[in-house]
């Protein structure tokens, strides 16, 4: 799965720490999501969607091997 969470974060002018604080997770979680190392749960994805004010499929997408 690939994502553009980093792009959305930069659009909102937030650091990883600030984004993590806003949705109640650790900075390591945001870093891992942005690097594609971790696929977040539905709840976390929905929180990101609410913060970015965009539907989930606009910043998360499936890759071919998925």
């Amino acid at each position: 799965m690939k994502n553009t969470v980093k792009v959305q974060r930069v659009i909102l002018d937030l650091t990883q720490e600030e984004l993590a604080e806003k949705i109640g997770v650790s900075r390591q979680t945001i870093s891992s999501i942005e690097k594609g190392r971790y696929v977040p749960s539905t709840v976390l994805a929905l929180k990101l969607s609410k913060l970015f004010n965009k539907p989930i499929h606009e910043f998360f997408s499936l890759e071919e091997e998925d």
């Binding site: 997770v25 650790s26 390591q28 979680t29 870093s31 891992s32 749960s41």
Partner: protein
């Protein structure tokens, strides 16, 4: 109490146990217990007389200290940290089993080189549990560091 109620109670207890964690400050407490116990273990070498139970107590306190650190929360606990913790327990379990299987024979081989008559295959519970706890803590910290 019917079977259904018993299953539900079991599930609730298992969930409570799975989620059990000590506050983050207990990491320091656990470290202090382990260090004090270790120092006590070293110090008894310099005592002329000491009861047998002191060694056993020090070893058990080291395990208590390591377990306390293992059960303590990180600064921020979330689903990803929980996944890393779970993965570190998996590694610790597998490596612990391998250690218990292999290490006695390695010790025997080394002891045999120096003293064939006294060499024997043995493994204490302290070695096994301490190894597993240390591997779990090490892997957890490495996983956390990798994503910083």
């Amino acid at each position: 109490m019917g079977l259904k109620e018993i299953y539900q109670w079991d599930r609730r207890m298992a969930e409570k146990l799975r989620r059990f964690q000590l506050p983050q400050s207990y990491q320091t407490v656990g470290l202090a217990i382990a260090i004090i116990a270790f120092v006590g273990l070293i110090a008894r070498k310099f005592m002329t007389t000491e009861p047998d139970w002191i060694r056993s107590l020090c070893l058990n306190l080291i395990l208590v200290g390591l377990l306390t650190i293992s059960l303590s929360k990180e600064k921020v606990e979330d689903e990803y940290i929980a996944m890393l913790r779970s993965r570190s327990y998996q590694f610790a379990f597998i490596m612990g089993v391998l250690y218990v299987l292999i290490q006695p024979y390695v010790t025997y081989a080394v002891e045999y080189l120096f003293n064939p008559e006294e060499a024997e295959v043995q493994m204490s519970y302290f070695q096994a549990i301490a190894f597993m706890l240390m591997v779990q803590l090490l892997f957890f910290k490495v996983f956390l560091k990798k994503c910083s």
